[in-house]
Symmetry: C2
Subunit: 654 residues, 2 copies
């Protein structure tokens, strides 16, 4: 269904065609299937005894006329249900489950009942502000909420072949198409929170109906044009605000300060930004819009070279949950929202489909191996919204400018965007591990798994065995249904210098392509085996010198995995811990921590404090005592109670 | 008029009896006399073309019935007039000036006309919320505003001998006495913002009327008692707030979380805290309340040992303009309000009067030589409210959690507490330089000046010549009206190890007393000379290791003067500048900077950044190039346009 002449647009495999077997990732996939999706369902139904109630299903029941009551929750509360449906559909696609399917069918029926005759669907504007539809696009997330429902409809159709939700969202999208546009009588507006754009492209992919693509393109292009639509509607509704003070956030907050094609810097609310850019990349791909694609690449570069934490997190400021400016990446004040890393993965993944390059999956890896899985507790029932790189619990407790940081994961949130976002990403992880097109397969991530794809008319089963990045070797077995010539692209991470490639036991000298992949083209036979060695020695890395908060500090990484020091292993006062950059890093599997974790021990020092005395300021030459510093993967932090944590540690010398 | 049996309570000299001649300080005193007081008068009368109008005098004209109009400004706007009157009275006391006296008389007449028959005086509750008097003590600063007027009345009486304002404030204080107290029918409340306490003690000092002291003691003791008065009045006024969200600041914000006598830590709004503690110290002194005095000392220690910036600034958080917790002293996020340093001086000065100790004036010096004079531009017309120790202009512009920091001084503020506070402090500086009692004179500050005091019935003229702390030698000439035995106490700063004392050219081996002063007791004759050498070599100092934001950093000081690096002298990116702690510090008088300043040049390095490339994170060993780092006194920062500034600089080695 996609434009054949946009040559490099890669396919993602179907979820059902990928089986993840990886020791690290299988655990998370199973957690999503067995715990997260069922648990979040109970939360959406208000069946879990936690301080924050969702009310999201109840809103649908009220809107559908099954119950009396008031709307509760945020104006975009419906999107929690939509994202859950999407995640649940992905689970269902891979793991047929009649009970889950029944729940899904029931909630789809309920959603259908809450939909208006004309296709409109939104419980807030059905229950609470009837008659105010489409009057506050800037603040009220109507198209955003619709977008999530559309994504759910596509996912459900692809998972089950059922059209029940797809028909609902087509009707919704058709309604939106009838309302929005440049034509006389239509609203020349767009949503304050991008999302509809990428959702409409998904609907185009599923239905082949080009009007959805057109509408997505309209939303992308109209954003930030003059006259400024959000001011027009603001005047029309007599300057009434849904969120007091919203206007003070400014136009950059929602990436509408100028048309996207003129934007060169990632600004504003980080989630909005990467959702918008993802939609724009989709539009660029399917309309072969090189200009728009170049804008996307510029914005991606701006994020990755100047505005991204080493953990793949983005958003340096709690105010506006936003980007601030280049190289402003404070570890302690970070916003680093989980959803923003999920959105960054969406964006990078799309760019890679258009013009494959290892750098995109370098970013996907950073976000996945650190912020995304780090955002969820090991039991799948608690979540981080904000993912700081440094926590000093007393600071979090006592400083208002750290009030957004929680030192421990929370059971739920009033604004619960993040938990289902992680669920839908992990439940569809298989789609990110591999890409393919008519003449080759791309291995983007080294996650133990198998995939079935069709390349040039030949069915290929690819089986990957890997403990990357904790071990160096990746084994790939290929089983084409018959001998076939095609290309196997293996991503070489940007930080990797000395990879080795073996084909059927024989070392091959393989140069990286300009794309950062190596390409093995041959006539593949049943039981061909490729081995890739990616040395992922533990390294100490520095930040660009313009990152003010990391001057004099190093972080310890192994491949994409970032390590951190926790008080649980190193005692209090991590600000007194110094790493010996000339010392050794010792990787160990420690079966005593959290059910077993790879840890790193580095040599270092601890600054003495008992020789300083009571004064606050004086001439003093600090003393140091040798210390072993124990580090755990960042993704495992905060699973042992409230304690200090630091990713960036002082270096003891230069 | 004070209790004779509270032995160590020292007197301060009258302002008219001290003449400041010091090269550094005379400039500021003259600035206050010639520019600040006249300029602020014009501002109070809305005659200066600046974006923020005061409206303070106009409020009095409206309240007095001379004009129609609305109240404008903050609920405590009257206090700007009161503080100006106090400052102007101090100027007048030293420098008779018929024009200024006429202005003062006129505004006093106006104030008298605005006073109610019963003594009540407050333009906000006269114009805007008539009938709401004393219903919102927590938020509305009525007693605070009264306190400032009382301070003005005392100052005016002492300066001129006129009772015009004194009578007004006595009537006001009598009214307050009739309203507040534990007795049946009285309000058992106190002000959300302390100030009335120390003001009432001043009124007691001036009038000898002990009821004012009693009332001050009542306010000190009642604060924080249960049942909690601020909740009682809140319920009574049906939970109406003057400032939306005020209650969320909590009880610690206004030091009412428990009775003061049970408080051991300085918490909450820093200005409120030090005003309260100052009043409490006064009450302790005049009621010989050792318990209360010990509480004051504990709180002082908590500030000075754990919560004070090296510049004598206090208040680590913009939220609540408040203390946070021990050792939390971020340079960039500092609130460090000018008024808080002024209040800290009030507090330290009072403690020193009760139980003289050099440590109190160590703090006075820190605050005076850095934050206080640094808060005012060199032309006396622009002011800092917030006094950060590190500014990166883009951060201030782009990060909301730095929105309180201004990289340049401002012409005025909506809440204009700071500028007149500095004016009244500097105009009365003479009172801080010396203290005395019946048998001795204390030299607290080494500021070139002369003072006339009476010691044991003998008039003594003391003349001090000093360029401290830029030069080491302090010369003191004593001229008693007749030969007399008394003690001369010289404060030895806490950081000073090798002082030398010479009497009439002969070196004396003088041990410091436990108080940190040296005491020379002799029969003083006309033309006796004491020379004190206080070596104030330039030093690099470290912070206590628990100050997380200063780990690995040093500050350069000379005596109490803290130096800073500015972009104007060192180029951009001060975060890349490293000080060689083994290098030399070269003091130089640079006549090219801001009309001449002592500067320090230190050896150091600059971290190279051009070898890093475009990536954000990678293995890297930074390169350094030698650099000379030029430092200027902190008090002179931000007089050359918006630029980077840092007090705490990286050390290149340990």
């Amino acid at each position: 269904m996609k434009d054949k002449d946009f040559i490099s647009y890669l396919n993602s495999p179907r979820i059902k065609d990928v089986s993840i077997t990886d020791a690290l990732w299988k655990k998370y996939i199973d957690l999503v299937k067995d715990v997260v999706v069922p648990y979040q369902w109970e939360i959406l139904n208000d069946n879990v005894d936690i301080p924050v109630k969702s009310h999201a299903i109840k809103n649908f029941r009220i809107a559908a006329g099954f119950e009396e009551g008031e709307f509760e929750g945020f104006v975009f509360q419906d999107s929690d249900v939509a994202k859950w449906l999407e995640a649940a559909s992905y689970v269902l696609e891979k793991y047929p489950n009649p009970d889950l399917e029944k729940k899904i069918d029931e909630v789809i029926e309920l959603i259908g009942k809450a939909q208006w005759e004309d296709g409109y669907l939104n419980t807030y504007f059905t229950i609470k502000e009837k008659g105010k539809r489409w009057t506050n696009l800037e603040e009220c997330h109507e198209l955003y909420t619709a977008g999530h429902m559309i994504e759910a409809g596509c996912a459900h159709f692809l998972a089950t072949g059922k059209t029940s939700l797809l028909e609902i969202v087509k009707k919704l999208a058709d309604h939106i198409y009838s309302i929005f546009g440049k034509e006389e009588g239509k609203i020349p507006g767009y949503d304050g929170h991008p999302e509809i754009e990428l959702a409409l492209v998904k609907l185009y992919e599923v239905t082949g109906d080009r009007k959805y693509l057109e509408l997505a393109k309209f939303f992308v292009d109209e954003r930030g044009q003059e006259p400024y639509y959000f001011d027009i509607e603001y005047e029309k509704r007599e300057k009434k605000s849904h969120w007091p003070g919203f206007k003070s956030l400014g136009r950059e907050y929602l990436q509408a300060h100028k048309p996207l094609r003129q934007q060169k810097e990632a600004v504003g609310h980080a989630v909005r930004a990467v959702y918008l850019y993802s939609g724009a990349a989709d539009v660029a791909a399917y309309t072969q819009d090189k200009e728009l694609f170049d804008v996307c690449k510029t914005l991606f570069d701006d994020i990755v070279k100047r505005k991204m934490y080493i953990t793949g997190a983005i958003g340096s400021s709690a105010h506006g949950e936003a980007f601030t400016f280049e190289y402003d990446l404070p570890s302690d004040a970070a916003y680093a929202e989980t959803c923003a890393s999920v959105g960054l993965i969406f964006f990078a993944h799309r760019l890679n489909k258009i013009e494959p390059h290892a750098k995109y999956y370098d970013v996907v890896e950073r976000a996945l191996y650190n912020t995304v899985i780090g955002s969820m507790s090991q039991d799948g029932k608690k979540y981080f919204y904000v993912n700081p790189l440094e926590v000093y619990p007393k600071e979090v407790e006592k400083r208002f400018d750290r009030h957004h940081v929680k030192p421990e994961r929370q059971p739920w949130f009033g604004c619960a965007c993040c938990p289902p976002n992680v669920a839908r990403l992990l439940a569809s992880l298989g789609r990110y591990v591999y890409s393919y097109n008519h003449d080759g397969i791309y291995v983007n991530l080294y996650i133990g798994s198998s995939v079935q794809v069709e390349v040039g008319g030949v069915k290929v089963l690819l089986q990957q065995v890997s403990s990357y990045p904790f071990e160096d070797m990746v084994k790939i077995d290929l089983k084409p249904s018959k001998e076939a010539r095609f290309k196997l692209y293996l991503r070489i991470p940007g930080w990797c210098e000395n990879y080795e490639v073996y084909v059927n036991g024989k070392k091959e000298e393989m140069q990286k392509l300009p794309s950062g992949y190596v390409c093995i083209e041959r006539l593949w036979k049943e039981n061909d085996q490729v081995v890739l060695k990616i040395p992922t020695e533990v390294k100490m890395v520095s930040s660009h010198p313009q990152v003010r908060s990391n001057v004099g500090k190093v972080a310890v990484v192994k491949g994409p995995v970032v390590f951190c020091a926790e008080e649980a292993d190193n005692g209090k006062d991590l600000h007194l811990v110094f790493v010996d950059v000339n010392g050794k890093c010792k990787l160990e599997f420690d079966s005593n921590i959290l059910g077993g974790l790879y840890t790193v021990e580095v040599d270092g020092f601890r600054m003495a404090e008992d020789d300083f005395g009571e004064e606050l300021y004086k001439s003093h030459r600090p003393k140091f005592v040798p210390a072993k510093i124990k580090l755990i993967p960042y993704y495992a932090w905060a699973n042992r109670g409230t304690n200090e944590m630091r990713v960036w540690l002082w270096r003891s010398s230069f």
